[in-house]
Symmetry: C3
Subunit: 265 residues, 3 copies
């Protein structure tokens, strides 16, 4: 097996011990949630998007996470600038192409970012991953989760072209790299009803990749942790409000026995 409960927990322990600094240039909707998720798992988040400081911030970070959820021109400039530094320092770059396919602006920005930064990890739902490849693909907003299976071909082509690990999240998560495909089957049906859990998955990829140089395993560990924490959260949730709160608690409490009990491939 490529990943297992013990390899997942070893990475969590490394994050808790090393508290890697994860530099996020992300969207307004999820900043609080992703910062809290990174803190709960044991990482050290920083949000910084100003052109005059992104170079320096990416220069001290252990990973760079770029998320285009509420992009605008100034932020895009900062994304490219930070990515350049991160690339030169060979720290992992993770890109979340939120809503790509919904507007030309998102599609062209995401594609250029990927071309210039050749990210370690790209994470999106099936429609987003397909929209990165096909000129004529359309996504409906940012919450579409269908079609993750058909997205595997697109993921393979992105992995081949850019050397990236591509995470397609959905009922089953597919972590697609040039060498293999890892499947993770954790998660809960209520999770798509909480905004920003996809973005949180992306941020966790940054934390795991910051402490594990095997990018495909780091990504799969992050996806497994997302799903397991979601299942733990759902056990006592009354709806998406309590799910979101419990999810942060679960990331914080996550033990090796939780993972052994719940991890599904």
């Amino acid at each position: 097996m490529t990943i297992n409960a013990s390899s997942i927990f070893k990475d969590i322990e490394k994050i808790r011990t090393n508290a890697p600094l994860v530099h996020n240039i992300t969207n307004y909707v999820v900043m609080n949630t992703t910062a809290n998720a990174l803190l709960a798992i044991g990482a050290s988040p920083v949000m910084a998007h100003a052109l005059p400081e992104v170079e320096e911030m990416a220069g001290i970070a252990g990973a760079l996470v770029i998320n285009i959820g509420t992009l605008s021109d100034d932020w895009i400039k900062a994304m490219f600038k930070a990515a350049k530094i991160a690339k030169s320092r060979q720290i992992p770059i993770v890109i979340d192409p939120v809503g790509v396919g919904a507007t030309k602006y998102r599609t062209s920005t995401a594609r250029q970012l990927i071309q210039e930064s050749t990210p370690s990890i790209i994470r999106g739902n099936g429609s987003e991953i397909m929209a990165l490849c096909k000129q004529d693909q359309k996504t409906k907003g940012v919450d579409s989760t269908s079609a993750s299976d058909q997205a595997i071909d697109s993921a393979k082509s992105l992995a081949r072209e850019f050397g990236s690990v591509v995470c397609i999240t959905g009922e089953t998560d597919y972590i697609v790299s040039q060498k293999n495909i890892i499947q993770v089957k954790n998660g809960h049906a209520m999770m798509p009803r909480v905004t920003g859990l996809g973005c949180t998955a992306t941020a966790l990829c940054g934390a795991f990749a910051a402490i594990n140089p095997e990018v495909d395993k780091a990504s799969a560990h992050a996806m497994a942790v997302m799903g397991i924490a979601g299942e733990m959260a759902a056990q006592t949730a009354q709806g998406p409000g309590t799910l979101q709160v419990n999810f942060i608690d679960a990331l914080y409490k996550l033990s090796e026995s939780n993972i052994k009990e719940l991890f599904k491939v």
Copy 2:
């Protein structure tokens, strides 16, 4: 009776089935909360404010919600651009004039937006609705909830001038249109202690108007759902923190029997 438990629940079912895409250009404080509320009720939220993409986003949305809570020049330009497309497509436009009256910038922006977009719905507290009409009206910050009764005259004049349905929220909500006034008496005294529940009411107006062309009823349904979910949330809340979380859960769980039991006019 203009609206009733059954008409409210029918709209909720339509939202849950159709998941209308609601395009929000809103403020930084409430983006997460309103996105979660829209997801919880069953709609599909998207937040997008960049000039190069708002036209396209408003072009695929079922409703456009504009909220001036943390406005700035670039965002205002995007608001006008999105409103123009939404108007040409005849999808509902909902405007929340947050804090209008507190600064000239807010007052003039809100008035111009209303004049140019002739929105389907304007939602605010009493002071805000009055400030839209009177040059010399002053609001204290963004949380003033007094004077909703006196605001009815202002609402009538806005309804007459722009053809809009005007929702004045407070202890009693007044949904004022050219033809009638609907009152909704749901809600809980702790709700004004949670930031952004007014903005959430506005966002829900967008979701309801996206699936119900009778704008006055759609607005009244949204107000009833806000109040009922607030009452359900308050039943086990220990303060505004748990109220906010429970409120999202309540929107998600809301059943016809909840509404039948709690709806008050």
Copy 3:
């Protein structure tokens, strides 16, 4: 004793009665949390950052809180403009130099803001307070909490130079003014795992300073309230998710007997 349970509660009652308007120019990550904390304690928060309106907003506020957590050029201009008005009106200005020392941009912005506005209160963790004084000080991101003891010398020098009260938050909080040092020993070890509680402490300083002209006591009251609410929240928290929610509830419920029971100096 400089402050005690009764002096703390007297200030809370004043906030609940007067609902001072606190004008925040703060970061994207914490806007929702700090607005909710200010509402929960009884204050009236407003977030406004646009150059055309900050003068007017600072002109009606009872305190101005400036936080550089996600700063950019336009926001910096607004910070200086608002500070100028606040200074001329002699309302309290509170500055939170988030992440100062991590990038030159933050360091120079924070120092200039302090020099020009001579704030009533500066609040930061030990590393941040030291970075405000030393050219060669480095902070790791925004969550460093170490070294608060060694920061006292830096705080004294800032207090001397600008007449500010300097709050160093950590396991023990030190409220350093030209005349004395007040220590507050409340708080809970899980609090640094919630994003934005430092920023919330800063925002509460604004609320307390708005109703209490003795700035050192107002600051110490705010720190005590933070710590006590944190301890109350931790009693039933399952992790940082529930801690954040319970914390808001605790601010709302806080009674004189809670404070008498828990206040530690």
